[in-house]
Amino acid sequence: MFWRRKKAGAGVDQEAKEAYFTASQGQLIWSRFKSNRTSMIAGYALLIIILMGVFAPFLSPYDPTIAGRDPNYENGAPQIPKFWDENGFSFRPFIYATERERSMATNFRWVVTQNRDERLYMDFFVRGWNYSLFHIDWDLPGTAFDVDVALIRSDIHLFGVEGGMIHLFGTDASGKDIFGRTLHAIWTSLAVGTLGVLISFFLALVIGGISGYFGGWIDSVLQMITDAIRTVPPIPLFMAFAAFMPDHWSSETRFFFISIILGVIGWPTLARRIRTHLLTERTQEYVLAAELCGASSSHVIRRHLLPSFTSYIIVDLMISFPYMVRSETALSFIGLGLKDPVNSLGALMQNVSKADVLLNYQWYFIPVLFFIALVLAFVFVGDGLRDAADPYSGTKK
């Protein structure tokens, strides 16, 4: 426990005690979370991955769509920048130039060879394709809902290479840069997950809130409906919704629609937890006091009951996040979610499921590693937050 360690001197003790007793709930959670090393490591990893996703266009040297393909390097292996080789040392990292050849000697197949004598030096902060950060561009049915906002528009990228192209994670079958695709995919999957979590959270809050606060027959009816929805397996629900999705929809619209589906299907578990919590909380004296003072139901819910378990809600959101991301990938994998030109982790993983890829193009697996890291980081941070949000967790060990 973090405050017990400070019991060295009496004065310090007093100060620490005061700091503890006057600390807000958020400060307490944060200090408990900080003392958990595993979760902190996971938290840093998560932060890095999220930042990579957010700044994907800046970090990736080439457009991840077909426009940024490298026609001379299809299914190319990752190129790792080097500082030295048998020809000497260089302060600027470099890669080797490649040559593509198709002739009698190569049995009329394209064969890419490395030219170890010709170095391509890396450049930093180079100008490349145009992009915009924090870009929201929804093309929903109906022009009134179209949104096109961007915070930063630029064409400067972190790195590039002189007189050629660099592919840190290799390229796919059409020559698209897998590094850029992976970063953009993280962003897409996170965005789908966030939207889905927010929607399901909102539904859960409203339905669970009503059910838990009013109790009685309203609770019974709502619980019955919640249970019935929880009983139906989500995959057929997804499929039925996906059948609505017309083929001509743009990838952004599909993406938005899928987040909505994920959210609409994911609420019951959270709703149940909120309801259970409210049921125990609403019999407490402070609620009675507020009611006796003439506060309305919505006031009591908003000002007294919700703050009593914000920490639980945050934890629940954090825990349900990896499941959302996973649902997106599963959905994309069976071909109902986002499809290949879109960069989502699920769509990228769909490419891995061929024996040809497993045996010959192992670099296709790099996005999968990011997915694994993302899910693990989320789960460990979620666990850490859960422990930190529990007010009794510090007192027992």
């Binding site: 019935a228 139906v232 397996p233 059948a243 609505f244 071909g335």
Partner: protein
């Protein structure tokens, strides 16, 4: 005892209501799938060279009773299912669904239940250990292994195992039976052959379900372990695993048992993907086939309904079991 019977009857009634609600949801979902049975029949006739018109489709709809109001058709469907256990014919395959599904559904259910069992066999001890032990290294590595099941996409896991086994043993481990048993009647030898292949989907599904189970067990255990009755028991001199199992674990595992049905749902949800890769011929694959490829409403509806019925039944059983053990549950529902 009277209280218990009352509880059981109320629960049974509630289960029945849930089942009816679910059947309505399932039936509505099936209605949403584009096209109807009548169109499919006639589309087939069309491929055989017959000329068809709108009037033909309408006549066929009348013959199949598709022109009746929605509620009436739902009532008929539910009635057939409840009283005769009859799901009708599949639109596309033109076979009786009961014959078509036969033991396929039981195989799927068996795989899912085994995976559920496996996931809790791992999650309960690790969850309790992780909540109570202060040894960070074992604790974290055990959690890491369990959570990997969630993080590794199950289709990838299936592919890797298939590839490794093809390279090492020359057998891809796909399918549910070896060639010689595929059409044989059930026997001990066939069952053993089934087990020698079914462990793979069970393992994959079980591992990916472990993460969720572990999180639940750990959270519930952490809630209970700090309570005063545990301190009191410790003060009486009960220590170690005896303390954990006798006091907090009993309370913590109640809600876990209660949600087993929904866990089954979660596992079944993953089944079609695994089945697709391992080319398993069971209900999960059939469900995917009928929903995503052939739009076979009748078959899909039957499979989803059977699954939800098993979930409702499992929930009912676990509720009854909990009520037998825990008197608070009995009182909770009535009073």
């Amino acid at each position: 005892m009277g209280q218990f019977i009352q509880f059981a009857l109320t629960r049974a009634f509630l289960a029945l209501v849930t089942l009816l609600t679910v059947s309505l949801i399932v039936f509505t979902l099936m209605e949403l799938v584009p096209g109807s049975c009548a169109e499919r029949y006639l589309a087939f006739k069309n491929t055989q060279g017959a000329q068809i018109s709108i009037a033909d489709i309408q006549a066929e709809e009348r013959r199949l009773g598709l022109d009746r109001p929605f509620v009436e058709r739902w009532g008929k469907w539910v009635g057939n299912v409840f009283f005769h256990g009859e799901f009708g014919d599949s639109c596309i395959l033109r076979l009786n669904i009961n014959q078509l599904l036969a033991d396929k559904f039981w195989i799927s259910l068996g795989i899912c239940l085994s995976a559920l069992f496996l996931s809790y066999m791992i999650a309960v001890p690790i969850g309790i250990l992780s909540a109570s032990s202060s040894n960070a290294l074992t604790n974290n590595s055990l959690r890491l292994v369990s959570y990997l099941g969630l993080a590794l996409p199950n289709f990838l896991l299936a592919l890797m195992i298939m590839l490794v086994s093809t390279v090492l043993f020359g057998d891809s481990l796909t399918g549910l039976f070896s060639k010689e048993y595929r059409d044989a009647a059930w026997s001990w030898a066939k069952f053993m052959d089934f087990l020698s292949r079914a462990w793979l989907p069970i393992f994959i599904l079980g591992w990916s379900a472990t993460a969720f189970a572990l999180q639940t067990v750990r959270a519930l255990m952490l809630d209970e372990i700090g309570k005063l009755y545990v301190t009191a028991a410790a003060a009486r001199g009960v220590t170690g695993s005896r303390l954990l199992w006798r006091y907090p674990a009993r309370h913590a595992l109640g809600p876990v048992i209660n949600s087993l049905g929904f866990d089954l749902n979660r596992i079944f949800n993953e089944l079609p993907i695994v089945a697709l890769i391992l080319t398993l011929t069971e209900a999960g694959a059939l469900l995917f086939e009928s929903l995503a490829r052939s739009n076979d409403q009748q078959l899909a509806g039957a499979i989803i309904f059977l699954l939800t019925a098993s979930i409702v039944f499992l929930n009912f059983i676990t509720d009854i079991m909990l009520a037998l053990i825990d008197p608070r549950v009995r009182r909770g529902l009535i009073g």
